[in-house]
Each structure stands twice: as structure tokens, then as C-alpha cells.
């Protein structure tokens, strides 16, 4: 028995290490590239011989990049916020209420999620230029919300279904109005779900390249993934590998912060102890 568990532990450790190595090699490589100077960029070493911050300096001196960073943060936060607000309300209704057309709503939102985004680029471009939304924050926020909502509704309604129905009845009996019951009993319990969904939605907006590149034309609303495509080297013949790597590292940081910040809120089993059995 004892031996079996040690062996099992060893096996798991080996498997985990393998997976971690597989996942981390590209990350370390990018970091390493971002720290190399242009001379040693192609020297074939996995780790930089003489690390330098030159690439980072270069991108932060580039007003296009700093502006793009602000755009990215602003656009993604707003899109996430709005999607979560509407997603929460829709998911609550879907999980808790019986109303005509409920299935249709769920089916429609799934349909939107499955729709190939590339097919929408040209029509969206035409619509946005006609409406004057092209190359504005709003021009990106709207499609982001559209594609984030199905994700949000789906994840959130699964979380809402987990919350015991009786808690709401109990709140009603304790004298709560429907809004008070939602606000003071359901929302706190749904928080882990809301945060999880927020992380997923934020990441999906943050990583978008397709809409960012096709619905923007200047640094007024261009987000980082798109801005990176416009990086230029010191000379026309030089590839901007170092700055691109540095930018890639930089845009990973907010996501890591976002996840770490909210992860503590995602306490598994928060509803335990509410009802028995």
C-alpha cells in the first residue's frame, strides 16, 4: 500500500513535470528572446548570454505601444464589465425562471459563439465605417461583448444552478424583496462564478487579434496584439524580434495579475453548509 502511493506520487510528479516543461519552454524562450540584444538574437543559446533591457526600453519609448497598452486595458475591462453585468442577469433568468423562449435564447447564444468570426469582419467593417464607429473604443467593445456574452451566460448559468433554490425562498421568508434576495444572498454566492467568468471573458478579449487588426486603423484604438504587428526594426532589414518578444511578455503580465487577483476569490465549495444532502 505504502509503496503503491509513493509510486503513484512519483508517476504523477513525472507526468506533471512533463506537462509543465511542454507549457513553459515557449514562455521561457520568449522571455529569453526579449532579454537578448539584437547582436546575440540568433546565437542559438536558449538563455541569453548577456541579458539587456534594450528591447523593453525600445517598446516603452514607442508611443504607439504605450497607447496600445492603454487601449487594450480600457477596452477589455469595459467589455468584460458590461458582459458580466448582462451575462449575470441573463444567466440568472435562465437558471431560475421559466419563461417562454428560454431555450431559444440559450440556443441563439450558443449559435453566436459558434459563428466563425472571420466571416463577420467585412460586414462589421462596413457597418462601423457607416456608423462612424470604425477605429474607436466602442467599435471594438461592441463586438467583444457580443462574443463574450454567450461564454458568460453559459458559464454563469451553470454556477447559478449550483446555488440551492431554497436559499432564495429562505430569504423571501426572512422578509427580503426579490432584489434584496438577489443582492444579499444570491450574488455573494455567485461571486466565484462571476470571477471565473470575468477571467475567461477578459482573456478572450485581451487575446483578440482579428477584430483588433481589422476594425482599427490608428493608435487611437489599436490594441496591443494589433500594435505588435506594426512594430518595425531599427532598420528596414532588421526584424523586430526582440521588441515583439518584449511586448508579448508585457501583455502577459496583466492577465497573470488579473488571474492572481481573482483566484483567491474563487473559493471552491463556498456554498457548502447551506443545505444538507
Amino acid at each position: 500500500m505504502q509503496q503503491e502511493t509513493t509510486q503513484r506520487k512519483l508517476t504523477w510528479t513525472a507526468v506533471n513535470t512533463l506537462v509543465l516543461i511542454y507549457a513553459f519552454v515557449p514562455v521561457v524562450w520568449i522571455i529569453s528572446l526579449s532579454l537578448k540584444d539584437s547582436a546575440s538574437l540568433n546565437d542559438g543559446n536558449f538563455l541569453p548570454v548577456s541579458p539587456s533591457w534594450a528591447s523593453y526600453q525600445q517598446i516603452f519609448d514607442n508611443p504607439d505601444f504605450t497607447r496600445a497598452l492603454i487601449n487594450s486595458i480600457g477596452i477589455c475591462l469595459i467589455a468584460t464589465f458590461v458582459a458580466i453585468i448582462f451575462g449575470t442577469m441573463a444567466a440568472y433568468a435562465i437558471a431560475r425562471l421559466d419563461f417562454p423562449g428560454k431555450r431559444t435564447i440559450v440556443a441563439l447564444s450558443l449559435l453566436i459563439a459558434m459563428f466563425p468570426q472571420i466571416a463577420l469582419v467585412t460586414p462589421l467593417f462596413k457597418i462601423e465605417t457607416a456608423l462612424g464607429l470604425f477605429d474607436t473604443w466602442l467599435g471594438l467593445i461592441i463586438p467583444y461583448i457580443t462574443f463574450a456574452l454567450p461564454l458568460a451566460i453559459y458559464t454563469l448559468s451553470a454556477f447559478f444552478r449550483e446555488i440551492p433554490w431554497e436559499l432564495e425562498k429562505a430569504a423571501k421568508m426572512d422578509g427580503a424583496t426579490p432584489y434584496q434576495a438577489f443582492r444579499q444572498v444570491i450574488t455573494p454566492l455567485a461571486m466565484p462564478g462571476v470571477f471565473t467568468t470575468a477571467i475567461l471573458v477578459f482573456i478572450s478579449c485581451w487575446n483578440d487579434f482579428l477584430f483588433a487588426i481589422s476594425l482599427t486603423s490608428t493608435s487611437a484604438s489599436r490594441t496591443v496584439p494589433a500594435a505588435m504587428a506594426y512594430f518595425t526594426g531599427a532598420t528596414t532589414f532588421e526584424k523586430p524580434t526582440g521588441p515583439i518578444a518584449a511586448a508579448a511578455v508585457i501583455i502577459t503580465i496583466p492577465i497573470v495579475i488579473f488571474v492572481l487577483l481573482f483566484q483567491r476569490r474563487i473559493v471552491a465549495g463556498l456554498t457548502s453548509g447551506a443545505v444538507k444532502g
Partner: protein
């Protein structure tokens, strides 16, 4: 504290299911009412209608003389204890108990004081800062009670509040519930499945079946004067034994236990009841059997010989189980009861009978014994309708308890 009146209350769910039909009950201020019945008979539905969690399809619900059919739960000032406790997991015990007061806009000092008092009554004082998930089942149950108590509502509604506790804790909590209710004098409606809770807690018991009230009365009334086969079989544990029988002229009755002569008061009552048919179902409670040797010859009753299948000596009583030959008693009421008890399989031939005997009885497993039963305590039901033909009869108190030992 309040008087609650249900006036012809009907509940039909949107899917067409008739859950409660024509429910009439007047609950006096401070009364403790028990709702019992098999699963799915509409107990929770009735309770939820009083609470305001379910709409009333037809009829009126009055609290203190006001029709409250259309009032939201929060405007009825009624507290409810749920079977699953339904504690708020993100709040501490103290916050859980204080939640109704907080919603009512009571100031912090008063909340703390009232929660403190309730916690004291329920022995929860040292747990006030803990979360429900860290409490034992019994403690959670008490928190749920505390949440109901703190705001001194007009009435308590409890839906099988003790059914998730283990047997021992259930006994403890039962007495506690009873004590709290007596102390506060709050009108209470209590739903239960449990025989003992039904018999010991309530002032009056309402027996329901398929959404229809069968009988309302004090526990003793229901036990001694059940209105029909269903109530007779449902109330009492171990339950009443039923045997098909035939009324012969002159107060004689034939069952698979043999012939017996009915006492005069029963015979007269039967004559008055004027049942159309001679076929009846005879009900005998287990305690109305006795070892024939312990009963003096002069005492009337009837005797029979039967091989005993199983003997269980409980110390204070002996339970003897035996099987009598012949077709068992059949009626819709009894089939319902059997289905609820989970033994709706008509296995084997003959009817199994339970007798509760005096510990001095000398019955042995597998041996033939002569048993006696008290004919003055027989219940006789119409075999077709299931109605008790002897409902109003006052009987001579000659149970086997008085038998010499």
C-alpha cells in the same frame, strides 16, 4: 401570534396536478398543528401556500382576519424552517440569525441583543462567529430555528425540520422544539413524516392523503377514533392490523381469527350505522392482543390459537408476529398505505399480524400460542368505502394494560 384560517383552499399546479383540494382548517392563536400524510400528499404545498411561496389557486387564506392570498411572504410576517435548513453559507451563525432583523431595518444594537437571546435559548452562544459549513447537523438545525425565532413572527412554519438528523438527535430536538413553542406561544404549523413527532408535538393533527384532508383532531382522537381505514393505518406504530371479516346476525363477527361476539355498545353502534354490506375490515391495534393465560376467563374478548413466527422481546413489551391464513384485507386505502410504507408487494399467502404482549407472556418463536384479543377495542370498517362504522363509539377502557400479570 396569530390565528390562521384556511378556507376552501385549492392548489392546482400549472401542469394541472391537483396538489391540495378544498382544505379547510381554523388554527387558533398559539396552537401547534401537525400535518402528516404519505409522500406527495400535499403537505409542503399547503405549508408553502400559507408561507406565500406558492400561489393559492382557489379559496382564501386569512391571518388574523385579513385575507392574505395576494400578500408577498415578507408582508405576512411568518417565519419558516426548511427541511434542508437553507442557511446562508457566506454569513456567520450570528449574521444568519440576524438577517431577518437586518432586512427589517432594526438597528445593530437591538439585532445583537435579540440574536444573543435566541442563541442562549438554543445553546449556540459560543458558535455565533462560525460559519454554517463548520457546524454539525444538529447545530445547523438550531441556527435555522434561531433565524425563525429572532424576529418574533406571527407564526412558525416548519417543513420536516428534523428529518435530516439522526434518530438520537431527533429526539433531543423534538423536545426542544416543543419547549420553544410552549415558551413563545407562537402559532405553529409543522409538517412531518414521523409518527412520534405527530403524536407527541401537536395540539391537533391533520392527516392528509392525495391532497384531501382525511381527519383533524387531537393525537388521541385520531388514535382511538380514526375516521377511516387510511387514518387508522397511518396513525400508530407499529400500525393497526387489518383482517377481512363478515358480520353475522346477533353481533357475531367472523374473521380469520375465528368467531367473536361484539360487546353491546359496538353492536348497537353497528346497527345504527346500517352498513349496506356484511363485508367489513376489522382493525386491531397490536396492544389489544395478549397472551391468553394472562387474561382472566371472565373478561370477555376472544381467544385463538396460532403458531408464532417471530418474537421480539423489547424489555417493556414483547412483540409477537404471526400469520393468519386467508386472503388479506384489500381496499384502496390500505394499498395506499402499503405503498407509502414501501411494502406494496403482496408476497406469500395470509396476513401478517403484529401483537404487543405483556413481558410476562410466555410465547416462544415457532411454537403455537393461545392469544386473546379485546373485542371491545375493535375497529370495524366498511370494506367498500373504508369508513369507520364505529367512529363515534365511546368504549369501555379495558385495554390489555389493565390485564393482571
Amino acid at each position: 401570534m396569530a390565528e390562521i384560517v384556511l378556507d376552501n383552499v385549492v392548489k392546482r399546479y400549472p401542469d394541472g396536478a391537483l396538489a391540495v383540494d378544498n382544505f379547510n382548517l381554523e388554527i387558533a392563536d398559539g396552537e401547534f398543528i401537525i400535518l402528516v400524510g404519505p409522500s406527495g400528499c400535499g403537505k409542503s404545498t399547503t405549508l408553502n401556500m400559507v408561507a406565500g411561496l406558492e400561489d393559492i389557486t382557489q379559496g382564501r387564506l386569512l391571518i388574523d382576519g385579513d385575507v392574505v392570498n395576494d400578500k408577498a411572504p415578507k408582508d405576512r410576517d411568518i417565519a419558516m424552517v426548511f427541511q434542508s435548513y437553507a442557511l446562508y453559507p457566506h454569513m456567520t451563525v450570528g449574521e444568519n440569525m440576524g438577517f431577518p432583523l437586518k432586512l427589517a431595518g432594526v438597528d445593530k444594537g437591538t439585532i445583537a441583543k435579540k440574536v444573543g437571546e435566541a442563541a442562549e435559548m438554543l445553546e449556540l452562544t459560543q458558535h455565533l462567529d462560525r460559519r454554517p459549513s463548520n457546524l454539525s447537523g444538529g447545530q445547523r438545525q438550531r441556527v435555522a430555528m434561531g433565524r425563525a425565532i429572532v424576529r418574533s413572527p406571527k407564526a412558525f412554519l416548519m417543513d420536516e425540520p428534523l428529518s435530516n438528523l439522526d434518530a438520537k438527535l431527533r429526539v433531543q430536538m423534538r423536545t426542544q422544539v416543543s419547549r420553544i413553542q410552549k415558551n413563545l406561544g407562537t402559532t405553529t404549523i409543522y409538517v412531518t413524516h414521523d409518527q412520534t413527532e405527530a403524536m407527541t408535538l401537536g395540539d391537533r393533527v391533520v392527516v392528509m392523503r392525495g391532497g384531501v384532508v382525511q381527519q383533524v383532531g387531537s393525537p388521541t382522537e385520531l388514535y382511538e377514533h380514526p375516521t377511516n381505514l387510511f387514518v387508522a393505518g397511518f396513525i400508530g406504530s407499529p400500525s393497526m392490523n387489518f383482517l377481512p371479516g363478515r358480520l353475522e346476525g346477533g353481533g357475531r363477527i367472523t374473521t380469520s381469527l375465528g368467531d367473536a361476539t361484539l360487546p353491546d355498545e359496538l353492536r348497537q353502534a353497528l346497527d345504527k350505522a346500517a352498513s349496506s354490506s356484511q363485508d367489513v375490515i376489522v382493525g386491531i391495534r397490536p396492544e389489544h392482543f395478549e397472551d391468553a393465560r394472562l387474561v382472566p376467563e371472565a373478561k370477555g374478548g376472544a381467544r385463538f390459537n396460532v403458531p408464532i413466527d417471530i418474537v421480539e422481546a423489547m424489555g417493556s413489551d414483547i412483540y409477537a408476529y404471526f400469520t393468519v391464513r386467508g386472503e388479506g384485507a384489500h381496499s384502496a386505502d390500505l394499498d395506499d398505505l402499503a405503498a407509502d410504507a414501501g411494502n406494496d408487494m403482496h408476497g406469500g399467502d395470509g396476513t401478517s399480524v403484529t401483537a404487543r404482549l405483556d413481558p410476562a407472556a410466555r410465547t416462544r418463536q415457532g411454537q403455537e400460542a393461545e392469544l386473546w384479543y379485546d373485542t371491545s377495542q375493535l375497529q370495524i370498517f366498511d370494506a367498500k368505502t373504508g369508513d369507520n362504522l364505529l367512529e363515534g363509539v365511546t368504549r369501555a377502557k379495558t385495554g390489555s394494560e389493565n390485564a393482571p400479570t
